[in-house]
Amino acid sequence: MTPSDSELDEHLRALFGGLDTGAGFDARLMARLRAETQTSASARATSARQQERARYRRAVLELQGWRRSMLRLLTLDAGIALLLVVAVAAYWPHVSHDAADIWHQYSAYITTLAAVLIAAVPLFGMWAELTRRSVGTL
């Protein structure tokens, strides 16, 4: 005998109408969510600490690199100045009187020009270093 629609409905409603999670489900879920919240907060704090440490390491490395490059430039600069002084001292006795007169006349300008050129080397080096770094961070 074929059951009526209402009988079938009644049985299906009885079978599935009360379908729900077991007792204590909400409490278990909330406990898991609380644990998740704590884990998440702890993970965020750990991540922030790691990022801060990495940022500090990067800053220290950059500073060390900067110091090294400045030292190289100053060494190079001092070398150039020393060579210039040695060259002038070596060739001075062989310079003609006319050239010596010219030197006496323009010594202030020539010295200033030499000083500017020597000082320009580290400045140029600093500019090159800054340009390299700004390109590197792009």
């Binding site: 059951p3 079978l15 109408g17 379908l19 999670t21 278990r28 879920l29 898991r32 969510l33």
Partner: protein, 182 residues
């Protein structure tokens, strides 16, 4: 009261815990039903339901309201259920004694005849094609709302009605042949 706007407002105010406290009671039963319709195992469905709400809690900051909250939750529930289903073959059957006992436990104490009838019906539901079985379970769980079942299974309402009609015809015929329902 739970509305999509209220949930988004709480999430924006970084009050995710309050948002999930609103979401859980509103969707717990439906998420569980959906998981159960896939897994046919009460314990596994409860595990999946928990997993779904954990995922929702994690993903809430990214909920932008483009889809409705219910659509978003059902999508997470379906994907999680399918992943769990793939991970745990072979599956349980609705007509397993444990499942029968669990279903009976959710209902008022029935007579012996009613228990026998329901057990027979449950076995018949178990033999339905997957989609028909899911539609039948969710339709009778969800106060017989075609629209809600359609939203849960991401199907057009017409498809739900068709599947339900076929399932009922099949159940009715099978029950008649077996003489399961007097």
């Amino acid at each position: 009261m739970l509305t999509d706007a209220r949930v988004m407002e709480l999430v924006r105010a970084e009050r995710r815990d309050e948002a999930i406290a609103l979401v859980v009671p509103a969707f717990r039963r439906r998420v569980f039903g959906l998981a159960y319709s896939f897994l046919r195992d009460r314990e596994a469905a409860e595990d999946v339901t928990q997993e779904v709400f954990i995922k929702i809690w994690r993903a809430l900051p990214g909920f932008d309201g483009r889809a409705s909250l219910s659509t978003w939750i059902y999508t997470i529930a379906r994907h999680t259920s399918l992943s769990a289903l793939r991970a745990r073959r072979p599956q349980a059957s609705l007509s397993d004694p444990e499942v029968l006992a669990a279903v009976e436990a959710t209902n008022p104490v029935p007579s012996d005849d009613a228990i026998a009838d329901r057990a027979a019906i449950l076995r018949l539901v178990d033999q339905l094609p997957t989609k028909q079985r899911q539609v039948v379970m969710l339709f009778y769980m969800e106060s017989q709302s075609h629209e809600e079942v359609a939203a849960m299974l991401a199907m057009p309402v017409g498809t739900v009605k068709t599947l339900l009609h076929r399932a009922r015809a099949r159940l009715s015929a099978s029950a008649g042949m077996l003489g399961a329902i007097a």
